[in-house]
């Protein structure tokens, strides 16, 4: 068996109460006692059982993290960011991969809810209403999705699109294709919305190419339609799709960037590895993960609206979270896949 607080108490010749104090509120115990206890604890290799502690404090010291698909290279960066911050705050993290399944998301949120202080939920696929309901059951921060009333971390898509289109226009492009991601994806809707807004203010034609899966195969399958659209450049829903385009263009003998400029979105590590390297709108991944944890922990340190309204203090309503919404900056990474027309 592992060493418990009783062992420490016995060896140190004090009560368990004193041990717990020496460890968590050192200032209230006599220095001599405190030091002795801490030495014994260290020598025995004692570490408090967090589950037992959580039982009484209500804080588990654990966070939950949900991602739709870890195989999508966009997410590992976020996970690493979450991990890093969580570790700094001495929290462990449960990870759940939902396999892009909205139903699995709900199940997993509920499954983890009891064992964590809060959840960071990445690009969830489920409906707003459902998510809002879940957010009422457990403290939650959204990453790369925005829903009024739930704290969230996103990035400036509009600004990113502005930079992307500005770049292409500066290179002389006037006809741009957009390869759209899943209709159900919040990110796709946001990107499309931003793109349309930007295009309206510029002298360019936008050709929207049907919705594809946000994967390599999606890009491969859309490539021929892009070629048929007689555009000089194409913006993909994300880098994976852009790389699929690149792959198919190479197979079709279309030189990139000479014959077609290709622009991605996300800036996954992969974007810099392909040839030609992909020009793309960089969305923070690591930083988004960190910000998510920051927001969550900050939320937890406030009186939680989840434990029910208090008498002496009016229950904070949704509006309370109005300020807990962060939008991270985006920036354009110009690489080899874009060049001027002719």
């Amino acid at each position: 068996m592992a060493v418990t607080i009783k062992d420490v108490a016995r060896v140190a010749g004090v009560s368990v109460a004193t041990v717990t104090r020496a460890l968590s509120t050192p200032e209230v115990v006599r220095p001599a006692t405190r030091d002795r206890v801490r030495e014994v604890a260290a020598s025995l290799g004692y570490h408090p059982n967090r589950a037992a502690r959580g039982l009484i404090t209500g804080r588990t010291g654990n966070l939950g993290l949900l991602v739709p698909d870890l195989a999508n290279p966009f997410f590992p960066g976020i996970v690493k960011g979450v991990q890093a911050r969580a570790r700094e705050a001495d929290h462990a993290v449960f990870l759940a991969d939902t396999d892009e399944d909205p139903a699995a998301e709900a199940t997993l949120v509920r499954r983890l809810a009891k064992q964590v202080d809060g959840l960071v939920v990445c690009s969830p696929r489920m409906a707003d209403a459902e998510l809002r309901r879940l957010a009422g059951e457990v403290p939650m921060v959204l990453v790369y999705r925005r829903i009024p009333g739930i704290p969230s971390v996103t990035a400036g898509f509009l600004d990113g699109m502005r930079q992307a289109v500005g770049h292409l226009v500066a290179l002389g492009h006037r006809r741009i294709a957009y390869v759209a991601g899943p209709k159900t994806s919040w990110a796709n809707r946001e990107r499309l919305r931003s793109l349309r807004a930007v295009v309206r203010t510029a002298d360019v034609d936008l050709v929207e190419v049907g919705n594809v899966m946000p994967r390599f195969e999606g890009g491969v399958s859309a490539a021929d339609r892009v070629l048929a659209a007689s555009v000089t450049s194409v913006i993909a829903y994300n880098d994976l799709v852009a790389i699929g385009l690149l792959h198919r263009f190479a197979a079709r003998g279309v030189p990139v960037p000479a014959g077609m400029s290709v622009l991605g979105f996300d800036d996954i590590p992969l974007a810099a590895m392909v040839h030609p390297a992909l020009t793309t709108v960089a969305l923070p991944q690591n930083r988004a993960g960190q910000a998510g944890v920051d927001l969550l922990l900050q939320l937890l340190d406030q009186p939680a609206p989840h434990t029910g309204p208090r008498r002496d203090q009016p229950a904070p309503h949704m509006g309370t979270h109005a300020g807990t919404r962060r939008e991270l900056p985006t920036h354009l990474m110009v690489r080899g896949s874009t060049t001027s027309v002719h």
Copy 2:
């Protein structure tokens, strides 16, 4: 507050003991009572608190998973495999990314040890002795590392190398370069050992090119040395390195596969996306993760050697784990990056 077993007991008009029985050993309670309790539990949305349960049962229902670097595309597949199997067994998983830091590994193992039933440790960077010590503190399965006495899941590197070299030889290659990974990496040592053994039985010259980081940049930096070695083909430590080679070869104007055949190792998803697609030795990722969990759960269902020896049953010693060692098959994925000489 969440609904507890007491709430259920009160509403159902039975004792807490009956509630717990109705839920976990239904066969010992009268059908009528059982059904009533279960209905009440369901209507109240009761789910037992796993932390509290773990306190007394000694089983938390949680697993821990350590990976050196989630940004390395080899690992997400493993994580997904672990997740899938863990979920089937109704276990949640703690994930910890060690950032390739051996010291962090030890810390995190200890940090998680108390909250999990066991750990799946992926390609750990720490020394054998240290790992062995940790394996004594908490049930542990190694994935992609083999240490006598610790259950492990690996793949048939030797066989993979045999297929790889056989492929190149069949294409007429007689001078092969190997770009080695980190000296401290177990995987690199195994691959090199296998490669040397295979080469000895074939009529080919092997040129070993110094050790590089197992990343894209490592491949980029080794490319020129490979070109200088006047070989017709090169096997890289892993796909990431191979892709770095590809990238630099393209920049140097060396056509692949016409001017150089390139062979990777791992078969990360990326390997199929680059152009030309990478011929590579496929190591199971998802399956390895699954196997890791299978082994771990199987281990946990045996009388654990970690809880100390018993009187009535001789304590199983290291040899007990002799059978808990799985070697998964590898196979060669032939794609566009290799072709015949001339």
